[in-house]
């Protein structure tokens, strides 16, 4: 069954047969569209017309001069940094709580994880209703407490919109990262903790000197995932704000979608997508370089 190829390595037909379906589907639905996107990014294609006109670097030139792209990039970075920091902090906090709680461990683990199971669209709708100025939960609570002056147009106030979207993303995503932290926490040897305890280390010292270095692998994974997810945020923005008010919450992915599918500029949209691809690769490479150097191998 196995054959030797010219370089001496075995060619396993059975293995190839198992891989082939996934390889074919991945190529057809991911690789081919991605490569064709590169081509379309050099065109003025409207997404409908069979005539695709090559316009060279015009889309990229527009990207670098467009205030809208700059605004979307700024919003994307703010949102990504915000959720990467707070999502991981809260997830770690939740993992520590679940890891140390004496009773109801499974209950808390499930409770914190439930938001992850809700789709981005549904969670967006739920929070949109809660944020509503006139009929929403938050303003109703503030009103009932006699704090009418604190009422806010949570999604309509340009100064608050991104923050409010960030809160929803953290609420939805923290449970997922919690599970990864929890798994990592549970792999930390109790011998080391007990030894430090005997040596008189305080809980904070134990956490800082033993637990944190040993779960740094989980940090790398979670920060990588939250970075990528932050750069890809779409569902909640689409449902909650439609990129508004004005352009306040328009992110790169949302801009890509709006110009590509809504405004008949598929060529420009794919150019934005290509830029996003490079941004993700660059940011992730930097992040990996930084985080991997801090990992402690057991």
């Amino acid at each position: 069954m196995n054959q030797n190829n010219s370089s001496g390595k075995k060619f396993d037909k059975t293995a190839f047969a198992f891989i082939a379906p996934a390889f074919i589907f991945f190529t057809l639905f991911i690789i081919v569209p991605t490569v064709s996107s590169v081509y379309y990014s050099f065109t003025s294609w409207d997404g409908i017309s069979p005539n695709v006109k090559f316009i060279g670097l015009a889309n990229y030139k527009e990207i670098f001069t467009s205030a809208r792209f700059g605004n979307a990039l700024k919003n994307t970075v703010i949102l990504t940094v915000f959720i990467s920091i707070f999502e991981n902090s809260i997830a770690l906090g939740l993992a520590l709580i679940v890891d140390n709680v004496r009773w109801g461990k499974n209950f808390f683990r499930s409770a914190f994880y439930i938001p992850v199971l809700i789709s981005g669209i549904v969670s967006g709708f739920i929070w949109k209703i809660m944020y509503n100025y006139n009929f929403g939960t938050f303003n109703a609570i503030l009103g009932n407490l006699g704090l009418d002056g604190w009422k806010q147009d949570w999604l309509g106030n340009s100064a608050l919109t991104l923050l409010m979207i960030g809160v929803v993303l953290i609420w939805k995503g923290a449970g997922y990262y919690m599970i990864i932290y929890l798994a990592s926490l549970q792999s930390v040897s109790t011998d080391l903790i007990e030894a430090a305890q005997i040596d008189g280390a305080s809980p904070f010292q134990r956490f800082k000197a033993i637990t944190l270095p040993l779960i740094s692998g989980a940090f790398t994974i979670n920060l990588t995932l939250s970075l990528i997810n932050g750069l890809k945020v779409f569902d909640q923005i689409n449902v909650m704000t439609d990129g508004g008010p004005g352009f306040t919450s328009e992110t790169l992915v949302y801009l890509l979608y709006k110009v590509g599918f809504n405004e008949g500029r598929q060529g420009f949209g794919t150019a934005v997508g290509i830029m996003l691809l490079f941004i993700i690769i660059i940011l992730n490479t930097i992040q990996q370089k930084f985080l991997r150097s801090r990992e402690v191998q057991m």
Binding site: F29, I30, I31, V32, P33, T34, S36, S37, Y40, S44, G47, I48, S49, P50, A58, R68, I121, G124, F125, Y131, N132, Y133, N134, F135, D153, L155, G156, N157, T220, T224, I228, L231, K232, F234, N238, V239, T241, D242, G244, G246, T248, V253, V259, G260, F261, N262, G264, R265, Q266, T270, G273, L276, L277, I280, I281, N284, T285, Q288, K289, R292
Partner: protein, 488 residues
């Protein structure tokens, strides 16, 4: 090193997945469609999306013939399926089904058609509610373009060769239609959705307020309601930018179109731009009006404005006639009144007339003679007075046909019809015009979003005009109907 490489590869492939969604036509992206505008009243968007008529064809003799033929269409159609097609034929039909009224009336008409023509089966496919234009584009890109559809971005699809011209006898059924190089591709669902103020008549009567006869009186009325303090003068669904389009067009019509009906054409020619004083005045007029909108208007969806009106949270809304049935359904006891907001120069300018949107037939589908004949017959049947009446009454649509469908309508709707007849100016929405005044595809939304920034005070008018000029510059490089760029 391997780990690093794998991590970069992982992130690159995840990024590629994002990118793949916006790639070529073979990469359908549907996951987000269920969300888009699900809460929005899509019929209102329909009104906004309907396009204008620059080249209305109105051949009265032909029209009279058509009207006569149309009147008898129902009877003649009975059992006539065999004469239309040579073999059993199936048609797919998609329309914007976000509005319950539209859905109900369409279902009724289609069922009736299928009963009348046993050899033809029209199947309604879901239209994805509010995000209809995007949905149709997606259906096209995945090779599922319907045989018959509600068409909105007509100019774009005509240029792409996706639509089949309608035969003369169908064109003659309508008061006005929109031509592209002498051919008509859409059968207008109704006259353009005329916007006006729908108000709480009981509240007005209690306070002795009457319908304003001038623009200044309108502003005074808003101020009086605001001073009284028990409800907001106006409810605005600012979260849906197409709703903002209603307001924008009102002010743009007052300030720009009233002085230069070809403003957009002149912008393409480079003789005018968006720093024009008339355009700045558009923003200023809206700044004046929006100070009377309810608190939280920026995040209020259009779908909620009826709630404000019928629950005494706002005294007035500015919207189209499609709201009449929604208000009546929300509160059958609610007594509503209607008036047009006069322009500052004293004239009455309304959105009206026929548009470029409407029922259309796929060019691909029309290659099959049976499908073509069946689709054309379906359109004739739809606009037969007894069927079209159902549609117009349910949606409070102003009939677009020459033949009078004999509507049994609310008094307020009759007021709108009368106002259309007596208005100083009837024009399609600024974004619905075709020919040399057609907007670049992305410019409408950009303008509305910029408007919201101005109204929120996050951008001043000069800066907004400057930003619009920059965007216009870029957009008109790839789309300029005056020079022909992007049209071919």
């Amino acid at each position: 090193m391997k780990k690093k490489f794998l991590a970069v590869l992982l992130s690159a492939s995840m990024a590629a997945i994002v990118l793949a969604g916006c790639g070529g036509s073979d990469s359908g992206s549907t996951s987000d469609q269920g969300a888009a505008d699900a809460a929005a009243g899509s019929e209102a968007e329909n009104a906004d999306a309907q396009s204008g008529d620059e080249a209305g064809a109105d051949d009265s003799a032909q029209a009279d013939q058509a009207a006569d033929a149309q009147t008898d269409a129902g009877e003649e159609a009975k059992g006539a399926g065999d004469a239309i097609v040579t073999e059993p034929t199936e048609l797919t039909y998609i329309f914007a089904d976000g509005d319950e009224g539209a859905k109900a009336s369409m279902n009724e008409i289609v069922e009736k058609f299928n009963e009348t023509y046993p050899d033809i089966t029209v199947t309604i496919e879901p239209g994805n509610g509010g995000a209809y234009s995007e949905f149709i584009k997606t259906k096209d890109s995945v090779g599922e373009f319907p045989d018959v559809m509600e068409m909105r971005d007509t100019a774009m699809y005509v240029r792409a060769g996706k639509l089949e011209p309608l035969p003369d006898d169908i064109v003659a059924l309508f008061r006005t239609t929109t031509e592209f190089d002498g051919k008509v591709y859409t059968a207008p669902f109704g006259g353009e959705n005329t916007n006006g103020i729908i108000y709480n008549k009981t509240y007005f009567d209690e306070n002795g307020w009457t319908e304003p006869a001038t623009y200044d009186e309108f502003i005074t009325l808003c101020q009086n309601i605001k001073d009284k303090g028990d409800m907001a003068p106006l409810v605005v669904g600012g979260q849906d930018i197409w709703h903002m389009g209603f307001w924008f067009h009102k002010a743009y019509n007052d300030q720009v179109l009233s002085k230069d009906a070809d403003f957009i054409k002149h912008c393409y020619e480079g003789t005018k731009d968006f720093s024009d004083e008339t355009f700045k005045a558009t923003f200023e007029e809206l700044q004046t009006i929006m100070q009377y909108a309810q608190e939280g208007w920026v995040s209020t969806p259009d779908a909620q404005i009826t709630t404000f009106l019928v629950n005494d949270m706002a005294a007035m809304m500015y919207s189209g006639t499609h709201m009449f049935s929604q208000i009546a359904q929300a509160d059958p006891e609610f007594e509503m009144g209607w008036f047009a907001i006069p322009s500052p120069d004293g004239k009455t300018r309304l959105v009206g007339g026929g548009g470029a949107g409407g029922l259309a037939i796929s060019a691909e589908s029309a290659k099959d003679p049976n499908k073509k004949a069946a689709a054309e017959e379906f359109i004739r049947f739809f606009y037969a007075p007894e069927n079209y009446k159902t549609y117009c009454e349910t949606l409070s649509a102003i009939p677009s046909t020459v033949a009078d469908p004999g509507l049994d309508v609310l008094d307020v709707f009759q007021e709108v019809i009368d106002a259309n007849a007596s208005a100083d100016d009837l024009a399609p929405m600024w974004n619905g015009r075709v020919g040399e005044n057609e907007l670049p595809p992305d410019f409408r939304n950009f303008t509305y979003k910029t408007l919201i920034e101005v109204l929120q005070g996050t951008r001043d008018i000069d800066s907004a005009c400057e930003e619009l000029n920059k965007t216009w510059q870029v957009s008109s490089e790839s789309f300029n109907p005056v020079t022909g760029v992007g049209i071919e």
